[in-house]
Amino acid sequence: MDAAIKASDLTKFYGEICAIDHLAFEVESGEIFGFLGPNGAGKTTTIRILTGVIKPDLGSASIMSYDILKEPLKAKQVMGILPEMANAYIDLTAWQNLMFLGELYGVSATLRHRRAEALLKKFGLYERKGQLVRGFSKGMRQRLLICMALINEPEILFLDEPTGGLDVQSARLIRDMLQELNQSGITIFLTTHNMEEANQLCNRVAIINNGRIIALNRPEKLRAFSKKLQSVEVAFDKPVDSGSLKLPGVVQVKEMGDKVRLYTEDPNSLLLRMVEYAQANGLKFVTLNFLAPSLEDVFVTLTSPQEV
């Protein structure tokens, strides 16, 4: 497949602080690419460079083969963007916001009207199209911002924390829409703190920390990344001292409510020892689950200071 986004050696300094450090990656056409990282890792700086809002100190990037530094307007023309902390114009109505954005992208009046109507209906805002955005809830504003990002029918959608701080229904609606948009062929570059969201939506994810990509792979591959993150979750019919469960091969023991999670690199051997332990102590299993690491586990492990 062709690369929709190519970033090569991207580096950006703010004073003496290196926000992103020689980043290089490619996003293929038609994929949902997740960009994960803790606060201050360089996600927003990267997205701002890729969308032409700021310039890198070093390196280059292209969007659908347009160099963002040499042909920024052509590159921007094929993008839809939802910046982090962005706002629609609160003194304009939802409809006026969409018309304005459409004009900025050179969309003809007929198409603007048709698309605005369809988008507002799709995102459940059509009935409120004549209201000033000032009176919109956070979820409604976010949905409107996504409509604004789609008014030019972009080939690539950049979304910086699209579901951050939203209620469950709005977040779910946006996630469903993103999947639908991706199925229609739109490439999506997504930053999120929500690991489950990244796991559900993304074909591939990159984890960035201190301005560097520390992992880039499919979510399932990343989950299998660390053997020591595999665990067995167990609950017995009687309370047990969790210290006594530090059996051979157990790396860590964590109490999780009425259950205990045992981290191990060799879950098969541990299961056998657990059975022996239960028989020896006259215990019956209430729960016994083998757990692969979550994307969140991988993320926390990779981005924790001791791993750097």
């Binding site: 902390m85 962005a86 900025l104 050179g106």
Partner: protein, 253 residues
Amino acid sequence: MHDFIDVGLSQQLRRAYAICKKDIRIYYLKSPVIVLGILFPTFMFAAFLVGRDLDPPYLMSSLTTITIFFTSTAVVPLIVPWETRSRTLERLVSSPISIRTMILGDVLASFLFGLLFSLVPLTIGLALGVKILDAPVFLTGIMMASFCFSSLAAVLSTPPTDVPANVMMLSTLVKFPLLFISGVFVPIEKLPSWGVLGASTSPLTYFADLARYSITGVAYYPILLDFAILASFSILFLEASVRLHERNMSKRM
């Protein structure tokens, strides 16, 4: 200028017009702004006319200059800081428009605002029996001055702050000294040589001269020179604001 031409000049001009319409809707069509545009020149006229022995034609030329200057420079300096603060700027900058297009849109809205409210001193002056001797020069001068002062205001909006009060302070620090050195209140020929030198550095001087010529038939500088200098200042201010905005944009984010 490369970006501007690259994606089509007419496309970028249309997008600048879209920004102009947005600015008018959000920033100009507000009751306080409209009331200011009407009351400010009216009260200035009254303050200078009542109880003073001032020549109405000279007064009209001076107050038209002041009105266009203050109305054209009133709102533009605040737009970019406001948009930074209200978090609409990043969305604007990431759309396919150049900084030049964005600034041109802001300047265009301000130009129209200045043009509209120049009608107030004009109407009052005409009501007082003042006659305009050279209407084409006067109208062309009003348009050029409004554009020039709007471009100056765009320069004042370049400091990378999201606090409108900071820009207001800078704006006041620039605007008032500029007004007082410009031969608006005292005819240039009556200024000392250092005053004439100072006045020659201000764009207001050249519109004040044009306005005086249009109404009284007397000008200090040749009319074509007034036009040429106003045009030069416009280009200078517009270019300076574009470059400063380009340089400072990443600091706003």
